[in-house]
């Protein structure tokens, strides 16, 4: 929802005010992501610093299933693609847009659920080996980082599902068409976090 007659005021008050043209929700989502980067960034830097202090934790790191992690990365990347496609179709708004949007969104949700399912199996494998969050700093970090990320994935799934349901109603399609962009921003951010978590936790 951009504020009042923007162009006119921009002309009147110079470039500093072109920010008025950015839809408020987009600005808000980015502000929210800014604080999210600080949260994950803080945790990740703690992880890196302590890992260096403890000489790399190679022994512990050998126990994580990097193949499963790689598969999950692929899943999440693909979900990002379907999300992007959903947003693109919403932006283009050609005929049959609502149908395409729901299909892509549906795929995104399914892929998200797949990610969580795989993660759950992974956790249970580690728990079976007694590698719980209390089993040492590496595992504490492993569960904190991936767990927090999984919670974000869950939140994203819920967010997308609400849009998916709403998109079924013709009268709400315009709303979804507008809001899917913001859900997309969040979903891609969660993906970016994983892009760094995967090599951090699995490949080093």
């Amino acid at each position: 929802m951009e504020a009042a007659p923007s162009i006119e005021t921009v002309v009147q008050f110079g470039d500093g005010d072109s920010i008025r043209e950015v839809p408020a929700p987009r600005l808000a989502v980015w502000l929210f992501l800014t604080s999210e980067i600080m949260v994950f960034g803080g945790l990740i830097s703690c992880f890196i610093l302590l890992r260096i202090a403890h000489g790399g934790w190679d022994a512990e790191a050998a126990h994580v299933h990097w193949r499963i992690g790689a598969f999950n990365t692929l899943v999440l990347l693909t979900s990002s693609l379907t999300m992007a496609l959903a947003c693109t179709s919403a932006k283009e708004g050609k005929e049959g847009m609502a149908r395409r949007l729901r299909t892509y969104l549906g795929f995104t949700i399914l892929l998200g659920l797949t990610f969580l399912g795989v993660k759950a199996c992974e956790y249970s494998l580690e728990f079976a080996k007694g590698l719980t969050p209390g089993a040492g700093l590496f595992w504490a970090f492993y569960y904190t980082l991936t767990g927090l990320h999984s919670l974000h994935v869950l939140a994203g799934i819920i967010l997308n599902s609400t849009l998916w349901i709403a998109a079924a109603r013709a009268d709400l399609v315009p709303v979804v068409q507008r809001r899917i962009e913001y859900a997309g921003l969040y979903w891609h951010f969660v993906d970016v976090v994983w892009i760094f978590l995967f090599p951090l936790v699995y490949l080093t």
Partner: protein, 96 residues
């Protein structure tokens, strides 16, 4: 790669980006399994990760075409975190 996909738009662009992402993922994994010095491997893996992240942020999150203020919002926390990590390293990572 931006140049390559510059002429693409809409869905086609999204798919091209995805191809790049998967490609980089595979590269990262290959580096990981190949018998090369760990430092180099880690360097390459993270380089790939950074490129992936930049692709997603610029294309999927459209930051490439956004108002400069949003770019500032995205970059500032990264810089801050880097600074914090550097300031903490003598205490936490390399103490004594």
């Amino acid at each position: 790669m931006q140049e390559k996909s510059a002429h693409l738009v809409g869905a086609a662009l999204d798919i091209r980006i995805w191809e790049w992402l998967v490609g980089l993922l595979i590269i990262g994994l290959m580096v990981f399994v190949m018998p090369i010095p760990k430092v180099v491997a880690i360097g390459l893996v993270f380089a790939a990760a950074v490129v992936k992240a930049v692709l997603v942020v610029r294309k999927y999150m459209h930051l490439a075409a956004e108002h400069w203020l949003l770019c500032v919002l995205a970059i500032t926390p990264v810089v801050l975190i880097a600074g914090m990590a550097i300031a903490l390293s003598p205490d936490i990572a390399f103490r004594q």
